[in-house]
Symmetry: C2
Subunit: 352 residues, 2 copies
């Protein structure tokens, strides 16, 4: 079992990153935001790590779920709920935390199933739950978290949020099925890529904004605007993930470099390069074979750099973040709005 | 893809069984019930086989889900919803069908995950979905059906049924986790066994009664009484499954004889024998090894017959069915009540 996480897990690493890249103002702002949110963040971690029913019966399925939840992670999704909920009228913090926890549980549930489907060995710098507790435990652990998350929303007394969460999960599962269908055969296709990342990542960011904004009693237009911010931010988040797979530091990302590349996962830089560089598709496909070594993978990254695909991907992510920030800017000014704009900025500047 | 099922899948096999065992009156009554329910049953099958979103995108995950739904099955759970809904005031059939479909989808979702967890190769006389479409497709197909089922209940506008369904699924997952924990080590334990079968089987029968009875506008006491009937009937159903694993006809049960025994699954006859016969636990454990042949398995069945464990299990199932029938009898007389009593009887008399 990991050491219990504290509120430090959420914003401190981001501040650390900001310091590394020389954004001292960003680092300071993030630390200030952490202080402002301290109680919420601390209680979020406590609730995640002491989920009802998890600690009581330490079966392998529940242990697998607990292991993943305690392995940290960036907690971006619950942070969105917490911040969006501060944009309007005061809300009972308990209700907000329940929905913030929901967001992280849904995310964790999909990871537990994904790792079985993708045969993932490492996540967040540690062996995956399925490696520690078996595939079966990871499947059932995911089922457990999914249902616990839905129960939290049911208890929140916001039936429209339950409806939209069910729709959201349906989109997530559909995107995962689509990704499964295309796994291992690299077919550069922008529209397919966008469908997958919207379903796998962006819709849950959108729901996080919707949940917080609904609790805060914002108007329909305001909620809609924030939902658009969520979609754009989720897309940017995934685009940066694509870049980090190709030139990130595995000590910061918590996963081995070139994992997506070796699995033949469709990523944006690869699509851009395939559109520009003759023979690139074959180059990528040869990376997917077991025999391929680090040399052929590095050669792919060289091509990506040379043709500008990595910069163009970062650029697109920055544009999506800019759009998200513009959506957030339609809300009344204040500390919560500033914090959301700041969070959006960290999505493109992050290194892990 | 299988041939599309018709309304015949539900009650006709039961009538066939009744005829085989010489219960001609039961066979006639079942066929009469089928006629009485014909439209509902036909539409139930249509809705199950043309589930929203399944046919449109034939990805392997959705194909796996569709494959399982079209493989037939006894449809006992939806039948409970349909019949219970006829015990009170008239209800829109569309609403009833949605909840009947829900019950079957939840059941199918758990089977898709179970078959991956248990590495099951055959179900309903056919290769399991995971064998045809991969483990990954079976996991995602299960996730898909689970969410579709919850969306149906959400749309039914009965929030208390959604709450109780979430609680029910939570109990199912907990029971599966418990079973996983004890898999492969045969530890005869009555209380553990009861926990597992209540969670794995009985609670969904209970929810089926609750859903039908709630739609029919029955009183709180009546709903409670029917929920108890559901628990008892579900327990009886599982007890008979235990017997069929040991002396059923695989052509009728759709699964190979001694599957539970080889997997070291805790079943009631084995527990009873372990309490009475010296050395029986070791005898069972040796059956669980890969080297064990049909001879050692048949020897176990001989012991079970000799010590009366199979008869005692059938007897306990009959008692549970008697209790369920007594609960149903507290409702006002009528065709629906008769049909539910009849359905309860088929649970103990079934051969598959």
């Amino acid at each position: 079992m990991n050491a219990p996480a504290t509120e430090a897990t959420v914003l401190e690493p981001l501040a650390g990153v900001a310091r590394q890249v020389g954004s001292l103002d960003l680092a300071d702002q993030l630390l200030a935001m952490r202080q402002w949110m301290a109680t919420d963040l601390k209680q979020l971690e406590e609730q995640l790590c002491q989920l009802d029913g998890l600690s009581k019966e330490p079966e392998s399925a529940k242990a697998a779920a607990q292991y993943l939840l305690e392995s940290g992670g960036k907690r971006v999704r619950p942070l969105i709920v917490l911040l969006a909920s501060r944009l309007g009228q005061p809300v009972a913090r308990r209700d907000v935390r329940d929905l913030a926890v929901t967001c992280e549980l849904i995310h964790a549930a999909t990871l537990l199933h994904d790792d079985v489907i993708d045969e993932g060995d490492e996540r967040r710098g540690q062996p995956t739950a399925r490696r520690v507790y078996t595939n079966s435990a990871s499947i059932l652990g995911g089922d457990h978290l999914l249902i616990e998350a839905l129960r939290l929303v049911q208890r929140s007394g916001q039936p429209q949020l339950l409806s939209s969460l069910l729709d959201t999960i349906s989109e997530i599962v559909t995107a995962e099925a689509l990704q499964l269908e295309w796994r291992g055969r690299f077919e550069p296709d922008r529209s397919l890529y966008m469908k997958v990342i919207r379903g796998k990542t962006a819709v849950l960011f959108r729901w996080g904004f919707e949940a917080g904004a609904t609790l805060a009693g914002l108007s329909e237009d305001q909620v809609e605007s924030l939902k658009q911010a969520g979609m754009a931010l989720g897309e940017a988040f995934q685009l940066i993930d694509d870049v980090l797979d190709l030139e990130g530091e595995s000590t910061q990302t918590g996963k081995a470099l070139f994992t997506d590349l070796r699995e033949g996962k469709l990523t944006w830089p690869l699509i851009l390069a395939a559109e520009q560089v003759d023979g690139f598709v074959d180059q990528v496909r040869s990376c997917m074979s077991d025999q391929s070594g680090l040399d052929s993978q590095s050669a792919v990254v060289q091509t990506l750099r040379r043709c500008g695909a990595l910069d163009a991907t970062r650029q697109l992510a920055a544009e999506r973040v800019g759009f998200a920030q513009a959506c957030v800017k339609t809300l009344p000014p204040g500390q919560a709005r500033d914090a959301l704009e700041l969070l959006a900025r960290t999505v493109v500047e992050r290194k892990g």
